[in-house]
Each structure stands twice: as C-alpha cells, then as structure tokens.
Amino acid sequence: MPARAVALSRDLPPKRVMRADVEGCDIAVWRDPAGRLHAWNNRCPHRGMRLSHGFVRGDKLACLYHGWHYGTDGVCTYIPAHPELAPPDTIRTEVYRVAEKDGVIWVSVSGPAEPGGADGATVPLRTLSVATDEVRALAGFAATPFRGAEPQQRETGRLDLGARTLVVHANPVGPDETHLHVLVDQGADLADRKALSRWCEAARTTAEAGRT
C-alpha cells in the first residue's frame, strides 16, 4: 500500500504527538526533541490506551494512562509503578515507516514510506477535512474557479489555477471523510495564500454538496 500524507510538518512540532489514520490503521505520530518523526500502532500494549493521548519526555513517548515510556524503537523502557524493574523487551508497540518531504509528513503501514502524489508545489498552505470520499473531494476542488479561472487538472492532485499551482495530497480516513493537505507553488505571496486558503473552503463546500 502506498504511503499517505497525514499532516503538515509545521502542525507537529518537537515533543508533540498526534493521531493519524492510514489505510484504516490507527496511528500515533510523534516528534522527538531532536526533530525526528516516529509513527506507531496507536495502542499501549499494557491496557490498550491510545498512545496519541500520551506525552513526550526526553526521547521517549509516555502513555497517558500509567506513564509507561517507550523508546524510539517502540520498546518499553520504564514502568513508573515499578521504578526498579527493567521491562522485558517483549513489551513493545508496532513501528511504521515515516518520511517528510516539502513540509508534509508521510506514513506507510506496509513497506517504505515513499512520499507520493503530484509535483509542482512545495510550500505548505493548509490542511482541511472534507466530509466526502477522496474522488469527490478532489473533484470538488477541480470544479471550483479561482479568481475567475477554471482549474486545470493535469494529473491527479495537481491543479493549475491561473498563475498559481496547487498540489493536494488526499488521505481517506473513512467512507465519508478525507483529509486534504494542500501545497502551493513558491511564487505565491501572502495575499495569494490568503485567497487560496479561502478558495479551499469554497472548494470544500462544492465537494460536500456533490455539485461536481
């Protein structure tokens, strides 16, 4: 299965953790203090608590429920209820591949995390959640004019909007929910980015209404 874009890099600063959904798998994605990313099965093996609710301490992710610490390899290193105990290395969570390119975080639940999608824009604009499937979400974007120009879709996920170019990385997270991570070309100035951000909302309305 291909890697999926799960977030913009700037939305996950060091020492933070978030939840992501990739191909139906519940994932905890976190960034250690050195800036490295980690993507794990979102379940503490102790009591099944979602690790995405946890907290980063040093270069460990700790579960919110009982504070069990996990190192960057996903292996449990510390159980606060028994500070003297060396946890057996069988207590571990499943680790997935994660990569970062052009300000976007990519996760794969099987095989390497090769960033995919279209080229042509490298500046992160924003993330939106659209209440429809991936195909209708992208169709809604392709059908919404920007400053009077009809979008030209040269390849899936790449839209030329007059002088501007957008790349949209879609991640379907349910039958009726798609997350879109939108990038814009480097020539866009602040006014362009503001206008495009508002255009994204109009495009979402179009997509959700199914007026495509």
Partner: protein, 279 residues
C-alpha cells in the same frame, strides 16, 4: 458475551433524588430500553414496557431483568447515620462496563490521570499488596494497598499516605474503603455502581459514604465528578472497547494483580457481558 449471567444481577438505574412527579428517566439496561419513574417512596421501573422490580438502596433505584436474581450485595456502612451519603452520578461513558470497574480498581494511573489530586510524580511506585477471591462470599478483595496522595479527599489538607482496600461484590460494582483524613480510625467508602446500557456503553453511578461534616455537599459531588471525568477521557480511548479476557491481548505488570484476578474471576463465572472472549 453472556447475557445470562448479567441478567441475574441488580443494577442501579437512577438516583433517588432524580425522581419527580411526571418525570420518566430513560436509558438502557443490558440492551433493553428502560424507564424509571414514580416517587422516592414508590419508584417504578419498566423494561421494554413491562414492570420490573424497583428497590431503593444506597440512595439509588435498583432493578433487575431476572425473575430469580442473586441478592443485592450489602454495604454495612450505609447503616451508619453519622456518615454523609453522596450520590454523584450519572457519568455516561462509551466503554465496556467492565473496563469502567477495572479502571476504578487501579491505583497506578493516579499520578498521570488524577495529577495533583490522587497522585503525583515522583510518587509513582506501587508496592506489593494482596488480592484474593473470597470463595465463600464470591467477591474479589484487594487489601494492604498504600499510596502517596496529594489530596486524598476533599477533607484532606496535606498530602498523606492513603490506605486502600477494594472489594468487587458483583461484576459491575466496586467498593473502595479508604483512609478517612478527619477520622483515622474509620474508612471512607466510595463505590461505583455501573449500569451496563450495552456491552460498549455504560452509566457510572458513583456513591460515597463519608465522614466529612465540613465540606459542602455540592463540593463533594464536584470533587468526585472531576475525578470521573478524568477517567472518562481514558476509558473512551482504550482499544478494544470490550475488556479482553485472553491474557495475551494486554500485558499486565505486578501492580495489576487486582485486574488480573478480576478478569480471572469474571471468566470463571462466565460473567462476560462487556468482555471479549474471542481474539
């Protein structure tokens, strides 16, 4: 799942103080629609339209779907007139009723979930304690539990070393006997009566029998509700929603002995409504 064991127990389904003329409190019990109405002297419970028994105990209305239920357990402290009795419910939680009970029996989470109240770092260690199934009364008991607590109760003015004993008299009920800060020779009693709406959704009815004649009633309720709302953020994020009984699915450590014995006791009795019995 086993509905047959669960049907033969009594369940709290409302606080007496919620009853009022013309009012019907609707919820579910073991998947059936129920309505609680009537007055504090004459409560009525209907399940799928049919009248069921309605008993008043521990400031709650209790009912059962069985025609031959096991007797409702006794809490002796309920007869002690100088205690303050505080029903603090309801807290609806999207989790298995058994996970709600198991969480109540757990002390290792206090420093992380109830930070600054029931626990705090670096006082995270759980020392050895005792757990047993008391076969003659068919209850799980955990005793000789001690834990450092910043504010063990509303009546506590400083951090103390609190002593705990837990008792599980029925699969969806847990009773805690805990050091009483203003009266060291007595135990405060805090219980949770869990109403299983379905296997994946429950209503928790906390109830306290305390020695505390200083704190306002509303503050006592608020103190417990804050704690239960903190627990809810955990309980709604455990996967799977059902309580696994297969020991390979979740990895316990030494401090989880109460949970291990509780799960074993449920499995042995076939009390598996809200449990995951297959993997």
């Amino acid at each position: 799942m086993s509905l047959s064991y669960a049907r033969d127990d009594w369940y709290a389904v409302a606080m007496v103080e919620q009853l009022a003329e013309g009012r019907v409190l609707r919820s579910k019990l073991l998947g059936q629609e129920i309505g609680v109405s009537g007055s504090a002297t004459e409560p009525m419970v209907r399940a799928s339209g049919a009248l069921r028994p309605a008993e008043l105990r521990y400031d709650h209305v209790w009912t059962t779907l069985s025609d031959a239920p096991r007797p409702l357990f006794e809490i002796a402290e309920a007869a002690e007139d100088d205690r303050t009795f505080v029903p603090c419910g309801p807290v609806t939680v999207r989790c298995s009723p058994l996970r709600a009970v198991e969480n109540f029996l757990d002390i290792a989470h206090f420093p992380f979930v109830h930070t600054g109240i029931l626990g705090e770092e670096p006082h995270t260690e759980v020392r050895p304690y005792k757990v047993e199934i008391r076969d003659e009364i068919d209850e799980v008991w955990a005793t000789e539990i001690g834990f450092h607590q910043p504010q063990a109760a509303k009546s506590a003015t400083t951090a103390i070393e609190t002593q705990y004993q837990y008792r599980v008299p029925a699969p969806t009920t847990a009773v805690l006997y805990k050091t009483c800060p203003p009266k060291p020779d007595a135990w405060d009693v805090i219980a949770i009566f869990v109403q299983p709406e379905t296997e994946e959704r429950c209503i928790v009815w906390p109830w306290m029998a305390l020695y505390d004649d200083v704190t306002a009633y509303a503050e006592l309720v608020q103190f417990q509700q804050e704690i239960f709302l903190q627990d809810r953020s955990i309980l709604e994020n455990q996967k799977p929603t059902l309580l696994p009984l297969d020991p390979r699915m979740e990895i316990p450590t030494r401090c989880d002995l109460t949970s291990v014995v509780y799960r074993r006791w449920l499995k042995r009795k076939g009390a598996t409504y809200g449990a995951m019995t297959k993997t």
